[in-house]
Symmetry: C6
Subunit: 76 residues, 6 copies
């Protein structure tokens, strides 16, 4: 059975929801490039490039939009 | 009759929904470039480029947003 | 009267919806560049470039999001 | 009084909605660069570049998403 | 007290909504680069680049999507 | 316990909502590159590049779309 990494979109808090959005964004990268060694090598590239960091933040923003809607914006 | 690859947007779990989003994203590429040999050759390019991987993750994020809404965020 | 190419957003199946999203995406290109000869010449460029293919898949994903919502996600 | 170019988002048909999305996209460019002569000169650049055409189609897709929602997807 | 520039998302007309979307997009730039002299110098760059103009139109499209939803698409 | 930086998505005003969207966008960058010294060095790059500024504004626009929906567009 494949690794269970996404049991639910529901989180206690907005901050936990943001962290899940980060997980989804990184999983999207890992799904495309499963080789962790390659990803480590690439980190020094994008982590020191302004546009790459903005692009990464954008993917998190799109995933956060999904998670926030899933949690009805934590309006309790 | 063309291949039936997208019978439904409904999935059992968020994780299965994420996998369907990956399928939709790859199908979007394949629709534009059906030649699998070309796609294999290109894989070594984008799979080793940080920005390309982020861009791929973004397409998955947009498709996942659609699948999550289709499944009412698996709120049961 | 201009060509009637978009009578409705409603489709029988998700797969037909995906194909309509591809149509919308290509129409967006054709609206900007109506010259089919130019488009044919450009095809060899984007169809052999990983990032171009990802970008094309992203436009399809945005249009599919619209079509899926229009069809209430084919939830029947 | 400034030119009235956007009285409503409501259109008769999806195709008219798509054309309004094209208008909104072009207006977004014109708002940033009002000089029509500059825009004409730039046309030969983007209209012959695959990625530029895809990017233009993406802006149309985002605006079409807005117009389609405004018209309740022309579900009548 | 900081300058009050965004009292409401509600506008009388779609066109006023589009203008507010332009304001939000420019504010997003100004928030990141407050130095107006720098922004003026950069204007000659992006205002004469096709892809930059398309990218600017895209930000307006995303903000317009938000404003249009806020105003229930001015459906009266 | 990790720093509590996102207790809620609810804000008093649209302007406060826009500021929260800026916070989310910057947090997305900081999550990917926690080293503040690196971020300071990169600032001189993106803050003086038109396309980088537009890309940053786009991330803010996506996050603002989420915050605005969370606050029911401050329609009171």
């Amino acid at each position: 059975m494949s690794e269970q990494w996404l049991p639910t979109l529901i989180t206690e808090t907005p901050q936990a929801g943001f962290e899940l959005a980060v997980t989804l964004s990184r999983r999207g990268v890992k799904t495309t490039q499963p080789d962790v060694e390659v990803l480590k090598k690439l980190r020094s590239v994008y982590a020191n490039d302004a546009d790459s960091l903005t692009a990464a933040s954008q993917v998190i923003a799109i995933n956060f939009q999904t998670i926030a809607a899933a949690n009805n914006y934590w309006r309790g």
